[in-house]
């Protein structure tokens, strides 16, 4: 079942690589939609009571106890759905601009996107640590070529920076993975299976070292404060579509990994590290929001807001209570949708104005109200306006933060204010006031673009008012994982 889920986009990638030039885009989109459909099918088969489901386990490298093992739990399902849902809009959004200046074709763009989707799905469903690591790294190659092949000048450098950062993180992860393996070997059962590893009793010192490895790796991926420097460059130079995939799908692997590995396998060390992690998360939240305010490049700005959001997610994870955990996971989904909306709309805007600089835009709302409106919704979602889905998750995280310590909560609240500043100020500078684009009148969204934006907006609103379906899936997972950490639950949320 899950293998097929991965295979659909993978086959799609290969198909796109070989079909005639004219059919590249339709075929690509077809496979994107097929993945979405199949993802929904998988979701419909999912039993909301939690636990690993639809598991498949095959021996892969017998000599080292590596398995090809897949499984789906609540967290995984969320991420899978997010991934399959984001890809078709991205494809549609790049329908025209996937031709890069040097004539790098739509073929490679669609192929890489599908490959990236396949690898990401594999990441979210892998239940073998080494398999996870393999696909974790494998996502980077499509990402590298997406960044380096499409976008603005200087993207080669950005792509290289991105790749080196990520691979460095990956190798740190590898160290920890091997460490886990060796620990399991010492215990007499060399294995990479998460289920085997979770059963291990690892001594505290080893656990802490392993934790540091895992955390740094995922913090680079996520990104969290001291490891975030690649993010801004990448999102500035890459196309908005690529950024969507990176920030909304790929970076979630970081927080996903923290939940699955740091908490799941190394609970004691996670608690040991909580103070530091929480501080880093807070710094990310505030710092991300602060530097976002001053940005002139719209893509860079949006990218930096994500830093702040990832801070929230990590905060939610590491405050160790049910509300925080649930909020964090929900936040991952919501942030994905909201940021995708922002990036895509910004992309449309850039296409029209031919510039990414906020200082050269303005007055768009007069000519293109739908564009401006959707941009506003995205911005408001980012700053957590009630009624839009991020609000729910943000509130849950903040409540959990206050539970943890009042100071933590206070700092988190501060971030909301900052978020409101950057979101609204950005809107004000780009959409209102005098027209400085020089390409007046800026055309409004056409039907294809509306078709892209509408589902996203709809989802934001829908989950803002009615988050229950998501929570039903998330809660059992959070319950399980916190139990494993050894925290007694003082009543779940809602």
């Amino acid at each position: 079942m899950l293998t097929v889920l991965i295979l659909v986009p993978l086959v799609g990638a290969l198909a796109v690589a070989f079909v005639p030039r004219a059919q590249v885009r339709p075929v690509g989109l077809a496979f994107g939609l097929a993945s979405l459909a199949y993802g929904l099918l998988v979701a419909s088969r999912y039993d909301v009571d939690g636990g690993m489901q639809m598991t498949e386990t095959h021996t892969w490298i017998e000599a080292m106890g590596v398995h090809y093992a897949l499984g789906l739990d609540g967290l995984g399902l969320m991420m899978v759905l997010l991934t399959v849902a984001i890809v078709p809009p991205v494809m549609l959004a790049s329908w025209k601009e996937s031709e890069s200046p040097e004539g790098r074709g739509a073929r490679s763009f669609f192929a890489w996107v599908l490959a990236l989707e396949a690898m990401s799905l594999a990441v979210y469903t892998a239940t073998d640590v080494l398999l996870f690591y393999v696909v974790f790294e494998a996502t980077l190659i499509p990402a590298y070529f997406l960044i380096g092949g499409f976008g603005r000048s200087g993207r080669g450098r950005a792509a290289t920076k991105f790749l080196i950062y990520q691979l460095a993180g990956g190798l740190i992860l590898l160290a920890s993975v091997i460490g886990l393996y060796v620990v399991s070997a010492d215990a007499g059962n060399p294995s990479f299976l998460i289920s085997d590893l979770a059963a291990l009793d690892i001594d505290p010192v080893t656990q802490r070292w392993l934790f540091v490895g895992f955390f740094v790796a995922f913090a680079i991926k996520a990104p969290i404060f001291p490891f975030h420097t690649w993010l801004a460059d990448t999102s500035e130079k890459a196309t908005p579509s690529t950024s969507v995939l990176l920030v909304c799908v790929l970076d979630k692997i970081g927080t996903f990994g923290m939940l699955r590995f740091c908490l799941g396998l190394l609970p004691d060390a996670s608690q040991w590290a909580t103070p530091v992690v929480v501080v880093l998360a807070l710094i990310s939240i505030v710092y991300g929001a602060l530097i976002a305010i001053g940005q002139d490049d719209v893509l860079r700005l949006i990218g930096l807001t994500s830093l702040s959001h990832f801070g929230f997610i990590v905060l939610g994870i590491f405050v160790f209570n049910a509300t925080g955990g649930t909020g964090a996971i929900l936040y991952m989904v919501n942030h994905g949708i909201a940021t995708a909306l922002m990036f895509l709309v910004a992309g449309f805007l850039i296409n029209r104005t031919g510039t990414t600089l906020i200082s050269q835009m303005g007055g768009v709302e007069k000519h293109a109200p739908i564009l401006a409106g959707s941009f506003l919704i995205g911005g408001l979602a980012a700053c957590g306006l009630p009624g839009l889905s991020p609000f729910v998750s943000e509130v849950m995280v903040i409540i959990a933060a206050f539970d943890h310590h009042w100071l933590v909560g206070s700092v988190a609240v501060l971030a909301i204010v900052l978020a409101a500043i950057y979101a609204l100020w950005m809107y004000q500078r780009t959409m209102t006031g005098a027209d400085r684009t020089g390409v007046a009148p800026v055309a409004d969204l056409d039907r294809r673009e509306v078709g892209i934006v509408a589902p996203l907006v709809l989802a934001l609103v829908l989950f803002g008012f009615f988050p229950m379906p998501l929570l039903d899936v998330i809660n059992p997972f959070v319950h399980d994982s916190l139990t494993s950490v050894g925290i007694s639950l003082e009543g779940g949320p809602q």
Binding site: I61, A138, D186
Partner: protein, 530 residues
Amino acid sequence: MTDFVKPSIDYFELSPLLVVFAVACLGVVVEAFFPRALRYRAQVVVALVGLVAALVGVVLVARAVTTYDDGAARGVLAVGGTVAVDGPSLFIWGLVLALAIAGVLLFAERHLDGGVSAFAGQAAAVPGTDAESASIAAHREHTEIYPLMMFAVFGMMLFPAANDLLTMFVGLEVLSLPLYLLSGLARRRRLLSQEAALKYFLLGAFSSGFFLYGAALLYGYAGSMDFAAINEAVRNDVGSSSLLLIGTGLLSVGLLFKVGAVPFQAWTPDVYQGAPTPVVAFMAAGTKVAAFGALLRLFYVALGADRWSWQPMLWIIAILSMFVGTILAMTQSDIKRLLAYSSVAHTGFILVGVIGLQTSDQLADGEITSLQAVLFYLATYGFATIGAFAVVSLVRDSGGETTALARWAGLGKESPVVAAVFAFFLLALAGIPLTAGFVGKLAVFSAALAAGAWPVVVAAIAASILAVALYVRVIKVMFFDEPVGEGPSVTYPSVLTATTIAVGAVVTLVLGIVPGPVLDLAAVAGEFIR
């Protein structure tokens, strides 16, 4: 006087070795008696058929060998205990032969340079003289390269299978001497090539002197050249330990030179840059495999009981190799030199695996042994390297191969396939998942970590991170940089080089995705015969 005891020569077990040697001799005969017009074809056919026959022999022997002495190892001690035909030997033989087949294909390539091979038409003709232009006009070529290569292959097979110091020394020389000559035979940039040969030769002879003196001292210590006897002596702690220590050190110098580990890596870049690319491809892969085989056998079988004294040394050398190799590779502007330094770094990585020696009772059931890890790494490295150098031979400009990195800019546009394949090899060398390099690194790291060498593994990870930057830089140049001038051109090779590249790429990919069979093979190979 002791009575003469006829040694038992296990002809069947040695058949691969003997076949290769016979083929080498046959090559010389062909060279002597065939008319010039026929030599090229005859040599290529003889070499290929011989190597394939030897490979078949390896398979047959591997199926036939039985457990040795009821231990964990399988195989026999042939020729009075001087050659150990055991699992690791057979694995390395198979590997060397496979690489040699690829090497012959590269040697035989005549399509790239307008109908002539990459080797000097007449090595003795001084560049720029009438003699040389005449030899070019006459389309002369040295078909001696094939027998020379066969001799080198023979050495590469004898070296890791040697079970005493003398045989090992002979193997070392038989492997080295033909390579010295081959290094000096480039058709273009002859002076560079000759200089490479000279440096390789002088340094190689120098290091083999060290090896030999080390052997003498160990012999003085143990009273025997035989590995098992040396091990016994070490175990019983006979004789002066300073002899043992100095002897081990000097032996290591010789071996570490061959593998290109750091204090002894100076020859690598020069030789890799100067020697003809097909030779480099074959040599880089084959020598490393063979030399590591020998290194493993020496350290595990003869000096296994003394590992507390050599492991710290290897720790330092491994770390140095990884860092120096990687960092110097970053500063290179020539692709062949870059690959040379990268091979130095890889030596470090393989040494990380060598360090992971544990006795079998320290290992959990099913845990990967260091021997298995190193053997697997060698397989992955060998194929990726030979493939990478094969690609290097394709990228040309008017002056022949263009190896300056800057000239490679825009290769991704000129020939996406070639650039992609090269990028793939680079990623494999960097150890990115889904390539063979990753599994290899994983294997050696886990072996070393299991043995408690965590500082080395941490250093190795750090070096890997640096190395990633190195390889990504090349990929960036190929795909994202603007070409200089007209940009590089890619000459499409004949089926020979194409096959080599394809095989390299496929093996690298397959070993990355389903490494199981080869890892199992390495596991089945078992331990060294002691």
